[in-house]
């Protein structure tokens, strides 16, 4: 187990370097940020040149990357163009997005798994077909359409919720955005669980358990569900990274000042430091989440162990 974890951690290093380099190059392709910095009026050449030097933009890209990564390892993520430390931006943005992601994942687990179990146990019945169709519809409508519609209906027409999220972003205000963010993944979780349950229902150990005369809910929860959750856990684990980085659309619609918002602003202003910094953290989250998921396998399925 320990050796396996060490090996995985070592493998993360090239992936981490590759991903940050890739995003660094991509942001650099976007071009010179100085012009946007100066607004509708162009900066005089002297100021532009000074700004360029100050942000290290006059150096070749590889050198910028090395300097940047060197700083990152000492905990210095650089300064955004508005003079703010990127770490400071992160300290306000990440808590919000983590809350949002938690809510989204909670929805996935509670609603997705429940629907999946229900449909998996009642295959072919009207409830199954109905839920299946619903998930298809959810998957096929783009998130921003769902988000705008729900915001208009629940927030303005019926006045049930705040249409946007205040800057403190407490949990209760994030419920609808969390649901919108989770919607597509929710549909996938439902379908995954359903498949998995249906598959395992025919397996020997379930049959044995039923034959032993165990009560039905015990069979479902202890035996069937536990084994059926493996693919679901994989999916949700990978989804954490996607939800945190993919919240750009949701955060924009509901005016949430989280990671997606900072990334969007960073991109609009071609602010290399902000974008690369945030993506670096997201890549780390993604890698760690994947590792945790793999370790969870062993917990869920005792047949698997790591050498």
């Amino acid at each position: 187990m320990g050796r396996y974890v060490v090996r995985r951690l070592l493998q993360m290093i090239p992936v981490f370097i590759g991903a940050t380099l890739l995003i660094f190059l991509m942001v650099n392709v976007m071009g010179d940020p100085i012009a946007g910095l100066c607004g509708e009026r162009r900066c005089d050449p002297a100021t532009a040149a000074r700004l360029e030097r100050e942000f290290g933009l006059d150096k070749p890209v590889w050198q910028q990357y090395l300097t940047y990564m060197g700083n990152v390892f000492t905990g210095d993520f650089g300064t955004a163009f508005n003079g703010q430390e990127v770490t400071e931006l992160m300290s306000t943005a990440f808590p919000v997005t983590i809350r949002l992601t938690l809510i989204a994942i909670l929805f996935e687990i509670v609603i997705g798994v429940t629907l999946g179990v229900v449909t998996g146990l009642r295959r072919g019945r009207p409830v199954d077909t109905g839920v299946l169709l619903l998930t298809l519809v959810v998957i096929s409508v783009p998130t921003f359409v769902t988000g705008l519609l729900l915001q208009l209906l629940l927030g303005v027409k019926w006045g049930w919720i705040r249409p946007s999220v205040s800057s403190e972003a407490p949990f209760d205000e994030l419920i609808l955005p969390g649901l919108v963010l989770a919607s597509v993944s929710l549909a996938y979780v439902t379908r995954l669980t359903r498949t998995s349950i249906a598959e395992n229902r025919r397996s020997d150990y379930v049959r044995t358990a039923i034959a032993k005369g165990l009560p039905r809910h015990r069979v479902v929860v202890r035996h069937l569900l536990r084994n059926s959750l493996i693919p679901v856990v994989t999916f949700i684990g990978a989804d954490i990274g996607f939800l945190m980085g993919g919240a750009i659309v949701t955060e924009r619609i509901f005016n949430i000042h989280g990671v997606g918002y900072q990334l969007y602003q960073g991109i609009l202003r071609q602010n290399t430091q902000t974008v690369v910094g945030f993506v670096t953290v997201l890549v780390l989250v993604f890698l760690v989440a994947n590792l945790v998921v793999d370790l969870l396998y062993a917990v869920l399925d005792p047949r698997i162990r790591y050498a």
């Binding site: 509708e40 005089d44 508005n82 703010q84």
Partner: protein
């Protein structure tokens, strides 16, 4: 507690929206509460909030609340009136003596003196400080040493600024500039306390000024809370307890929040909602002229747009745009078709002249077609209008302008909208001279003078002459106008220069932009100044 208020306001907003009935306050029937705080929409300022570093509206809003300069533009007329200036005297339009009023302090107790201004201006001009508004000090003697075009600066202070007493200083300009005192209402000329220089980082985190509001707390990128400064010495004390500025990425969301009762004031109603404003807000909506004009600039560095006869093509394009229909339909009359290159807020005396553009700004499809043909046709038979898609409601009107041109020329592929993803990249393409056709050019005045609508935009190599238009005759007229001590004569010369712009169609004027604002039941006395910024200190909250 907070939650409860939301629900109540949501209910009120709904009742208004559905039944168009008024929704009373807490039973006190709308009496104003001088301690109440209002919330208003805001955008995240791009640069640190230093006065000489803020060149966009969002940062300008805050500066307007926490700073008062020598002059202040009257919120209604736009006229430059003395604020901290006791008097500004000159005998030759080149050497000015400024006397600062006694009794003003910064909110941290420091006295506002002549030194506060001179220090601030020196800071703003110095190349070392990377201030975006440095060029505002370019007329002052010694600027070329403090801010050379290239190389290191050879001086730290402007030689044209001299403190002559506790409250007096002199300004020496490099050339005659008769309206110089009127430019001093611009934020870049605000005074700065010692605290700014002593602990700059702390100041930027929580700016200290001398205006009617104090910064109470500031969470970058999300919210700024401003509170009334009770000891404010000026005449324009805040009528409310304070303002919470909330950052919105999308002005549609801000408007939605206003309707749901989570926000008190929106100062940029999105184009898409203009049609609903009457229904949603009734008379809690304001639409007043502002010093903003939208134009289409041309890349004069591209020979295709700068050859003999292409002024006819430009004029033809101008006549192919049905401004009236676009401002009616897309903007619901919150823009007015432009008939000159300035703005109605200048007033007739200030240099605005309705109809100066003549028939070149009227929709005449047949003549448009003829003119374009005479001028040699569109370069390559096509024209693209470039704009940035990330801010404002530009996409809608650019599409409409293109459709109008296509309909007039009877060729549905004659004009194409060309969105650029980000403002930063849009500016890049402009500074790198990559434009191949007309592009969006908006101008929001810095100060209400006709000079500000012409010189920065059309003078050879001026800071915002994005199309690189250059014309000797125009430059001469502007130079002469600047030296003219008599205001009326100066305005006359500027108008002559404007006629040169017209005859060459250096840029197509589209429309004058109004400022628009919508507010909640709690507010009254909401006004917008000629810069389309709400006059926060006059708003009353009940």
């Amino acid at each position: 507690m907070r939650g409860a208020t939301h629900v109540k306001w949501a209910a009120c907003a709904m009742a208004v929206a559905l039944a168009a009935t008024a929704c009373g306050g807490d039973g006190d029937g709308g009496g104003s509460d001088a301690g109440a705080v209002l919330s208003a929409s805001w955008g995240d300022p791009q640069n640190p909030l230093e006065p000489s570093n803020t060149n966009e509206v969002q940062g300008g809003k805050v500066l307007d609340m926490i700073f008062r300069g020598l002059k202040r533009y009257d919120p209604e007329t736009g006229e430059a009136k003395d604020m901290l200036a006791e008097r500004i005297e000159t005998s030759d339009s080149q050497n000015f003596t400024v006397t600062v009023k006694d009794g003003w302090t910064f909110s941290n107790g420091e006295k506002v003196t002549a030194q506060s201004f001179v220090d601030a201006w020196n800071y703003g001009a110095s190349l070392r400080n990377n201030q975006r508004n440095a060029y505002f000090f370019a007329y002052i003697e010694g600027y070329d040493q403090v801010h050379p075009e290239e190389g290191e600066q050879t001086a730290d202070t402007l030689s044209g600024l001299k403190v002559t007493g506790d409250l007096t200083f002199t300004v020496k300009l490099t050339q005659k500039f008769s309206t110089f005192p009127d430019t001093l209402g611009y934020n870049a000329f605000a005074p700065l306390p010692r605290a700014f220089f002593d602990d700059h980082d702390a100041w930027v985190k929580k700016p200290v000024g001398n205006g009617p509001y104090l910064v109470d707390s500031y969470t970058r990128g999300s919210q700024m809370s401003l509170r009334r400064w009770d000891d404010y010495p000026g005449p324009d004390k805040a009528q409310n307890g304070g303002v919470d500025l909330k950052v919105y990425t999308d002005n549609n969301t801000a408007y939605t929040d206003l309707m749901a009762g989570n926000l008190d004031l929106v100062d940029d109603v999105p184009a898409a909602q203009l049609k609903n404003v009457k229904n949603d807000l009734g008379d809690r909506y304001l639409n007043t002229p502002a010093g903003i004009i939208q134009t289409l600039a041309f890349p004069f560095y591209d020979d295709a747009w700068n050859k003999p006869g292409s002024e006819k093509v430009r004029k033809g394009l101008s006549m192919a745009i049905d401004r009236g229909q676009i401002t009616d339909t897309i903007f619901q009359k919150t823009r007015t078709p432009a008939t000159d290159w300035t703005s109605p807020v200048l007033g007739e005396d200030g240099g605005y002249r309705a109809g100066l553009c003549g028939e070149a700004c009227e929709y005449k499809p047949d003549e448009a077609r003829k003119l374009i043909e005479e001028g040699g046709g569109l370069p390559g038979g096509r024209v693209t209008i470039t704009f940035n898609a990330d801010t404002g409601s530009h996409r809608e009107w650019v599409n409409a302008v293109c459709n109008s041109i296509n309909n007039a020329l009877d060729d549905e592929r004659a004009c194409t909208a060309n969105p650029v993803g980000t403002f930063a990249d849009f500016r890049n393409e402009i500074t790198d001279r990559k434009m191949t056709g007309p592009f969006r050019a908006g101008w929001q005045m810095d100060y209400p003078l006709i000079q500000n609508f012409l010189q920065p935009l059309y003078y050879t190599d001026a800071s915002s002459n994005d199309g690189k238009w250059s014309n000797r005759e125009f430059d001469d007229l502007v130079d002469r106008a600047n030296q003219e001590a008599d205001t009326a004569k100066a305005v006359g010369l500027f108008q002559q220069a404007e006629e040169v712009v017209r005859d060459n169609m250096a840029a197509i004027p589209l429309w004058y932009q109004n400022g628009s604002a919508g507010w909640s039941e709690r507010l009254s006395d909401v006004k917008l100044n000629p810069f389309s910024v709400p006059v926060y200190e006059q708003i009353k909250v009940s």
